[in-house]
Symmetry: C2
Subunit: 367 residues, 2 copies
């Protein structure tokens, strides 16, 4: 009985009384359509009526229902985001920041964010398809882009607006925001060569990801910028977590002329370098130098604290939604491409090349 009453009252009075556009029009003595056009700045409404309507709307607290407009306009004023939580989670610590950036930028424009998570590539495609089909979002932010990315293909084909966090091989029709990782990794090489290092190893990121290729290119470019020659034996295999970082460190250090410094595509791999070194009594920053990328919080708590390039995921999220909204409003994707900076956290994990230690002669160095 009580239950019944609850249900009833719930379905009837549900919310505070809303003011609709009809309320506004009858209050103003204008036609409903006129009010709508005034609010949407149509050219055939006089400036004075526009002002009057807008003031009344403000005063009466009128807020259009986005789903009511959507039925005619096809836009729900929402940015879509499908996260893949099956990947190596180097970006997990930044998730909250990233989401905060999106959320804030979206609400700035009166938009909202609809979020879904997928646990496989197929699940991602299905989820994306469902959200598109049900028009739950007007466009999408695609994080963690691949060189060849099925999500991009399907959205491009369906002509659904999207923006990439990262780049991809075929940029046609793609708007994107990315971090200038190439410069960052060039700087990493420069830092180390300035400290005397000449055998600088590189631990790349996950295969297939665009970020992985670009960071690698930055490493290579940094070598030539500093007059060092590229050596394939100094490049490890994909290292995306502590375990793989640890293993690949061991592999590279077993060489006849082991590296004196490591550049890691991701911080998690750097933790593996730390582990390998500490197990052998070697001190990071003195016996082995490490510079890495991501800026995970654990990095600050290591001994010594990890020198790394930090990225501001909150502004990334914010810029991405601004770009996406612009894209949805019709801007050409070619004009919506942006590179943000990574900031170097100059901490203790890199130092001058160790005089003793594994370094012997410098045979491979040109110049």
């Amino acid at each position: 009985m009580i239950t019944l009453m609850r249900e009833t009252s719930h379905t009837t009075s549900q919310f505070a009384p809303r003011v609709t556009i009809s309320d506004l029009s009858s209050e103003l003595g204008l036609a409903k359509g006129t009010v709508s056009r005034a609010l949407n700045n149509y050219a055939d409404i006089s400036a004075s009526t526009k002002l009057r309507v807008k003031q009344a709307a403000e005063k009466m607290g009128y807020r259009p229902l986005s789903h009511a407009q959507a039925i005619k306009t096809g836009r729900v004023r929402s940015v879509g985001l499908v996260l893949q939580n099956f990947e190596h989670d180097g970006h997990r610590p930044f998730l909250a920041d990233f989401l905060a950036g999106i959320s804030n930028a979206a609400s700035q424009e009166g938009w909202t964010m609809t979020l879904a998570m997928a646990n496989s590539e197929e699940h991602t495609r299905d989820t994306l398809a469902r959200l598109v089909d049900e028009r739950k979002a007007d466009g999408f932010i695609l994080p963690r882009t691949y060189l060849k990315d099925a999500r991009i293909d399907s959205l491009r084909e369906a002509d659904v607006p999207f923006v990439l966090y990262g780049r991809t091989e075929d940029q046609a029709g793609c708007a994107w925001y990315d971090i200038d990782m190439k410069t960052a990794f060039e700087q990493a090489v420069t830092q180390l060569t300035n400290l005397g290092h000449q055998r600088i190893a590189f631990l790349p990121g996950g295969d297939g990801f665009t970020y992985s290729k670009i960071r690698y290119q930055g490493y290579v470019s940094g070598l030539t910028m500093n007059g060092l020659s590229y050596e394939a034996s100094l490049v490890g295999k994909a290292s995306v977590d502590q375990g793989s970082g640890y293993e690949n460190t061991g592999q590279l250090m077993a060489a006849a002329q082991p590296p004196t410094a490591f550049i890691c595509a991701v911080d998690q791999a750097a933790l593996g370098v730390y582990q390998w070194a500490s197990e052998r009594g070697l001190q990071i920053g003195r016996d082995i130098s490490v510079i890495s990328y991501d800026g995970i919080p654990e990095g600050a708590m290591m001994t010594p604290p990890l020198s790394t390039f930090a990225v501001d995921n909150q502004t990334a999220g914010a810029r991405l939604t601004e770009l996406l909204i612009a894209r949805i409003r019709g801007a050409a994707p070619e004009n919506l491409r942006e590179l943000g900076p990574a900031t170097f956290l100059n901490r203790g994990s890199h130092g001058p090349v160790s005089p003793a230690g594994h370094m012997c002669q410098k045979t491979t160095v040109s110049n």
Copy 2:
């Protein structure tokens, strides 16, 4: 020119052709309303037509537009979530799991999730109000509940369905899911007393949070269950991160009869205990025992690995959305309250009370 064409084609052909309910009705030779009622299982539609309609809908790939239905029903089939990212972020590592749970459970019912983040209590209220006002969600999940929670008050007053992750002081009209933390902390005390500990300290969580009170109650109840008397001097101040945990550990260990074991309301505080001990050459698990709560990933990487109660935030998110959807569909909140288990990770940070060390005589022990 190219730009213009892009824009044009974008606004016109935008998506793949959708099949509407009118397409269905004309295809079937039925009235639009009849089709709608058939799909929604109205009683005045014959079973045979229902079947025919549903099969045709399936075959033609018909999916109703939630915002088109919302205009009449008032429901957009979306669960709302406003995260406060200004709080101490003990739950940050679990964010992805939590969101995945919500997302999966929601899409199971054909629902979606609209997410927003706020950086102050006021911002949270505003955001919540806006989402309610614009009907962006049919109900809300409120995480991290306080004993007195302004969000609950305003949603209750506005008669908007919601469900709590956690409990609150005034449960009237509240549906919730929570972890049985009281039992967990009782077990923690029992574990330690079985190992001979009699001076067991407690580091509580953040002030004002319901979880903090319940975990404290579990600690107290565990003491009496095991014949130990409560001692106010064994209870520290709020310790929600490593820093405060470190400090409060020092405070408690400075007593004439220092504790031999610590129970921490949150794992982050336990990290502070580790730090304090390691700086003094004391070994966790031997010289000082620690049992904690949360199950953060860092805990497994400590030496020794942290004994703690882990909570499955993915199923928490899933259950919460199931409860919320039930609530929105009219179920009484009193029937939507659930307690999930915390699972003890029996690791190395607790052990028998140290024979040497700080322990002296047992004066305060009754029995």
